[in-house]
Symmetry: C2
Subunit: 165 residues, 2 copies
């Protein structure tokens, strides 16, 4: 777990179009089975033989595990470095390809929208587009995620890309 | 964990408009902290004092934990009783109200779309609208989830509501 740094970036410090490269994580058999037991107990996430006979063709993580691990990479690589006040929701989550046993996933978060909250001008709404890939560079999951971010001043505008320095 | 029953309902056995009442689960402090440590390590999900000072006003589950628990309720109450072949994705997930320590969540899954897969007519695409509530009947989360379901016959049509006998 990263400590929350005290010099976190606020809404005004973010730039539309900014891309954040996330870290990576390798998904082991133990992780797949343990997550599936708790949240998604289907034979094709629990048992190698059942998985081979399924649509997935082998032991693969629950898509929700891929989403949870993505959240963790996003939190460690980005959300704990900004003044995040909590998630609002997400949209268009798509599982594009199974994450198989021992695959390594990584990805990019791109800032696609920055707007001041109308009701609460002390917060901005940040929307990022997440593109997650496996070790072969193949897309495994994408989604858009909206998050509240503290502003420095109720009137501050976000950065233009390239003007941050 | 429910065993996968052998008389699972297939695509043709489902009806547009059908509503499934899900079970319920109480979210303890231990569950909140343990999930947050693994996936969403923010102080407002880990520490009661930090949580009191946050936007949430007290210790609340990660919205992703609410999503994961919803998946588990949906799996136990519905997906293991139908011939589910895996999730495709979801859309419009919205966290409407925090799930606080010791809140009990439950909900309803309503079938809002049933269509034959164009590319793979042996499968149908089931879309459900999930409406999750706390013990006061207040909405906490909603989302639409799309899932592949096996058909009995490549040409079979889904049921009309009320025709299932």
């Amino acid at each position: 777990m990263n400590p929350i740094t005290t010099d976190r970036r606020h809404f005004e410090d973010l730039a539309l179009g900014e891309e954040v490269a996330l870290g990576s994580i390798t998904v082991t058999k133990e992780m797949i089975v343990s997550f599936a037991r708790e949240f998604d107990p289907f034979p094709f996430h629990l048992d190698e033989e059942a998985a081979r006979r399924s649509l997935l063709g082998g032991l693969a993580s629950s898509g929700w595990q891929t989403a949870g691990l993505t959240l963790r990479l996003l939190t460690d690589g980005f959300l704990t470095r900004i003044a995040s006040a909590g998630g609002l929701g997400f949209s268009n989550l798509k599982w594009k390809r199974p994450v198989m046993k021992n695959d390594t996933i990584t990805g990019t978060a791109r800032i696609i929208e920055l707007r001041r909250s109308r009701q609460h001008p002390q917060w901005g709404v940040l929307t990022v587009d997440l593109d997650m890939r496996n070790q072969h560079g193949q897309p495994v999951m994408s989604m858009k995620l909206a998050n509240l971010v503290e502003t420095r001043h109720p009137e501050g505008a976000p950065q233009k890309l390239g003007a941050a320095s």
